[in-house]
Amino acid sequence: GIQVEQSPPDLILQEGANSTLRCNFSDSVNNLQWFHQNPWGQLINLFYIPSGTKQNGRLSATTVATERYSLLYISSSQTTDSGVYFCAVGPAGGTSYGKLTFGQGTILTVHP
């Protein structure tokens, strides 16, 4: 099956700093989503971005499908950004639209 690798595994920032999280995947995808898992365990959908670039406030994401990676940018980080960030991909072709494979996640800690 498709492999998903996220880096870095851990990231510690001071409030106000910027960061970039990376997601590499091993095969063509028709679905790529970034999630933030908050301290209560809820998965918050940040972006649906199988290709291209999107922005939402301080967050933006870019997926270069031909090179099989995606980046999540967090600017001017806040303590509320802390948590685990997951990248999840769904394979291109077939009918497995929603069979997402998750990466191991990046644990982000933002200090005041």
Partner: protein, 112 residues
Amino acid sequence: EPEVTQTPSHQVTQMGQEVILRCVPISNHLYFYWYRQILGQKVEFLVSFYNNEISEKSEIFDDQFSVERPDGSNFTLKIRSTKLEDSAMYFCATQDGNSPLHFGNGTRLTVT
């Protein structure tokens, strides 16, 4: 914005007991999924369900697990005889085609 609703938020059960986890999908969605996250690990696909039948399942989804839409609205996951290793967060997700998955807030299952 429409939401996927899961109940209960937390379930404690004794080993060997049956549990049913419930999900109310977004109303026009046709594809339904269950995912699992063992504490501290990544989110894993369990099963996909479309047109009242299982379309795909993982090796985790053995004979102890079953899914159904008993009344055309709820989507349930049943574990017949729980084991300690079934303790996890269980997420329901729904989708209306080749589009992002919408996740519920999860049910934290604790087997004692």
